[in-house]
C-alpha cells in the first residue's frame, strides 16, 4: 500500500499537525512502509479465528454507579490552575464561531 503526498497532507490536517511541505514525501514513505508491514498480516490464514476488537482476551470490568470523584469547586480550582485562561469557572479558548 502506498500513500501519496495528498494523503499525508489530508491526515495531517485532520490531526491538526503542522508539517513542513519538504517533509511530506519522507512521511509518505515511512507511513507506507508501516502500512505494508500491517498488510503482511493478510498472508496469515485467519479463517478459523474469531475477530477480536482488543488484543487482550478479557472483558470490560464495570464500575458501580457512584459519585466518588466529583471535583467540586476545590477540585475545579486545582485543575484550572494549569489552564492558560479561565473566567467565572469556565475554560477560555479561542472563539469557535463567527
Amino acid at each position: 500500500m502506498s500513500l501519496q503526498s495528498r494523503d499525508v497532507e489530508y491526515i495531517a490536517h485532520l490531526a491538526r499537525l503542522a508539517i513542513d511541505a519538504s517533509e511530506v514525501p519522507q512521511y509518505a514513505q515511512s507511513l507506507s512502509s508501516i502500512l505494508d508491514l500491517v498488510d503482511s498480516l493478510n498472508s496469515v490464514n485467519t479463517e478459523t479465528i474469531a475477530p477480536m476488537s482488543h488484543p487482550l482476551a478479557m472483558a470490560q470490568r464495570l464500575r458501580p454507579d457512584l459519585v466518588d470523584a466529583n471535583p467540586g469547586e476545590t477540585g475545579r480550582d486545582q485543575f484550572q490552575a494549569h489552564a492558560p485562561q479561565v473566567s467565572d469557572g469556565l475554560y477560555l479558548v479561542p472563539r469557535v464561531v463567527e
Partner: protein, 481 residues
C-alpha cells in the same frame, strides 16, 4: 423536473441522557445545573494518564431499552473512538460505538390518526459520552467552556428511514420519549437537554426506490419543533428541486423564532471521524443471565397497559391511550379505580377531565397532585352512590384542590348531599310550578322547551342538590297537572 407527487423520507437519531448518578466513564456527578466545571474530573477533562472505567448502570439501562424494543442485545459490544476537534471535546475524540453497538435492530409502533398503527424500525442504539458546552457570549472575544456535561452517558437511538411525514416524525419522537420515561432510563427533560432529536430529511419522486439527498436537522428539543422543522425543510427541498436546484448534504439548525432551518458551518470540513476500537476499553461481555435479570425489571409497557385498559376496564381506545401516555398518569388512574371500586369510565372521565385540567392550569405534575388518587376515589364513590351529583362533585373537587379536606367531610360540613327525600322535593316542585303560572300554562299549551326552565328553577332553589333524574321525574308528572 415534472414531478406530480413527492414522498418525504425521514429517519431520526435521538440522544437520550441516561438516568445515572455518575458519568459513563468517571465518578463525577451528572446532576444538572451545577457551577461550571465543578463536575468535570480528570477523566472528563481528558488529562494525560487517565483511563475510562465503564459505568455498569449505563449498561443496564441501555439493555433495558433494547429489551423493550424487542432488539438483539450484543454479547460483545465494542467501544470506538470518534475523532474530531472541538473545544468542548477535550480528548479530541468522543467514546462512542460503531461496530457491535450494545442494542441491535428492534422496532416500536406509533399510533397515527384514525387509530392506524405503524411499525418503525430501529436500526441500533449505542452508548456514548456527551460533550461539554460552549458559551459564545463575550469573554473578551473568547469562548467559555463548561465541561460538566462532558462524559454524561447517552443512548443514541437510530431509526430506519421509515417515517413519511412531519407528523409521523413527531409521533415517533413522542413514542420514544414515552418509552424511556416508562422504563425509567431517562428523565426525558427536553429543556435540560436530556432528550434531543436529529432528523434526517429527504424527498424523492413518489415511486422512486433510490433515496434523495438528505439534510440533517440537529438538536431539536421539542415535539412541536420537530414538526415545524421537518415541514419547513420538506418545503425548502421540494422548492429547490422543482426550480432545478440540488439538495446539498449538510447539517442544518432549526431556528424556532424564525420558523426556518439554516445551514450550519460544519465542525470538520470533511466528516472523516476515523473511528477505531478504543484500546482503553475492553469488549463489553453481556451474558444471558444479565439480560434475563434486566428483563425481570421491565415494567408493563404502554401498549400492553393500553390494551389491558381496553379489555379489562372497558375503556375506549382513545381514553386508554390518553391515560397510558405517561406512567405516572396511568398509575394514578389505576389507583383511583382500585380505591373507588366504581365504573372505570367514570374514573377515566374525571382523571382526563377535571383532574388533568386542574393540573394543567396550575402546572403541577400528576405525581404532586394536591388531590391524591385515594381522595379522588372517595369523591367518585359519592357520585356513584348518588350522594352528590356530578355538578356538585366539581365544586367539592375544587374545595379539595384548595386543601379544604376530604370529600366526605366537605359534603357533610356544607350540607351538599342530594335531596333524596321525595315528599320534600315534591312539595318544593309544586311551589315552584305555582310561582310561574304563565310559564306553566304555556308549557301545558305545548311549549315543551319550557321544561328546562322549570328544571333550572328547581335546581336554583335546591342549590343543585336535587337528584336531576328525580327532579325530571317529578316535574314531568306535576307539570301535566
Amino acid at each position: 423536473m415534472a414531478v406530480t407527487a413527492w414522498e418525504v423520507v425521514i429517519g431520526c437519531e435521538i440522544h437520550v441522557q441516561l438516568a445515572t448518578q455518575s458519568k459513563i466513564f468517571s465518578g463525577a456527578a451528572t446532576a444538572f445545573g451545577a457551577a461550571p466545571n465543578t463536575q468535570a474530573c480528570a477523566v472528563d477533562l481528558g488529562l494525560p494518564g487517565v483511563l475510562p472505567v465503564l459505568n455498569g448502570e449505563a449498561v443496564r439501562l441501555a439493555v433495558k431499552f433494547g429489551l423493550a424494543i424487542d432488539a438483539h442485545i450484543e454479547p460483545h459490544a465494542v467501544f470506538a473512538r470518534k475523532n474530531y476537534f472541538y473545544p468542548d471535546l477535550p480528548k479530541g475524540y468522543q467514546i462512542s460505538q460503531l461496530e457491535r453497538p450494545i442494542v441491535g435492530a428492534g422496532h416500536v409502533d406509533i399510533l397515527l390518526e384514525e387509530g392506524v398503527r405503524k411499525r418503525i424500525g430501529i436500526t441500533r442504539a449505542h452508548l456514548e459520552e456527551d460533550a461539554g458546552k460552549s458559551l459564545h457570549e463575550d469573554f473578551h472575544g473568547m469562548t467559555g467552556i463548561d465541561l460538566n456535561r462532558a462524559g454524561t452517558p447517552l443512548l443514541e437511538i437510530v431509526s430506519e428511514p421509515d417515517l413519511r411525514s412531519a407528523a409521523e416524525a413527531a409521533a415517533y419522537m413522542r413514542k420514544i420519549h414515552q418509552l424511556v420515561r416508562y422504563l425509567g432510563i431517562s428523565d426525558g427533560n427536553m429543556q435540560e437537554g436530556s432528550f434531543r432529536c436529529d432528523a434526517n430529511v429527504s424527498v424523492r419522486p413518489l415511486g422512486q426506490a433510490e433515496l434523495g439527498t438528505r439534510a440533517e436537522i440537529k438538536n431539536i428539543n421539542s415535539f412541536r419543533f420537530v414538526e415545524q422543522a421537518v415541514n419547513y425543510e420538506v418545503e425548502r427541498q421540494i422548492a429547490l428541486l422543482e426550480s432545478g436546484g440540488r439538495v446539498v448534504q449538510e447539517t442544518r439548525l432549526y431556528d424556532p423564532d424564525r420558523g426556518e432551518t439554516r445551514s450550519m458551518r460544519s465542525k470538520e470540513e470533511a466528516n472523516d471521524y476515523r473511528y477505531f476500537p478504543d484500546p482503553d476499553l475492553l469488549p463489553l461481555a453481556i451474558d444471558a443471565n444479565f439480560i434475563e435479570a434486566v428483563r425481570a425489571t421491565l415494567p408493563e409497557l404502554p401498549e400492553a397497559r393500553c390494551q389491558r385498559f381496553i379489555q379489562e376496564l372497558g375503556l375506549l381506545e382513545y381514553d386508554a391511550n390518553t391515560l397510558t401516555a405517561s406512567r405516572p398518569l396511568a398509575d394514578y388512574f389505576e389507583a383511583v379505580c382500585a380505591a373507588a371500586k366504581c365504573d372505570a369510565k367514570l374514573c377515566a372521565n374525571w382523571v382526563m377531565g377535571t383532574l388533568s385540567a386542574a393540573l394543567n392550569r396550575d402546572a403541577i405534575s400528576v405525581e404532586s397532585s394536591p388531590v391524591s388518587a385515594e381522595a379522588l376515589a372517595e369523591l367518585l364513590r359519592r357520585i356513584a352512590d348518588h350522594t352528590i351529583s356530578g355538578k356538585i362533585a366539581k365544586q367539592v373537587f375544587d374545595l379539595m384542590w384548595q386543601g379544604e379536606g376530604r370529600a366526605d367531610a366537605i359534603i357533610a360540613d356544607r350540607g351538599l348531599q342530594q335531596i333524596t327525600d321525595n315528599s320534600a322535593l315534591e312539595a318544593m316542585i309544586a311551589t315552584t310550578i305555582d310561582a310561574y303560572p304563565q310559564q306553566r300554562d304555556e308549557y301545558r299549551a305545548g311549549k315543551e322547551k319550557l321544561f328546562g326552565f322549570f328544571v333550572g328553577q328547581v335546581m336554583k332553589q335546591t342549590k343543585g342538590q336535587a337528584n336531576p333524574a328525580l327532579v325530571n321525574e317529578i316535574l314531568t308528572i306535576k307539570l301535566k297537572g
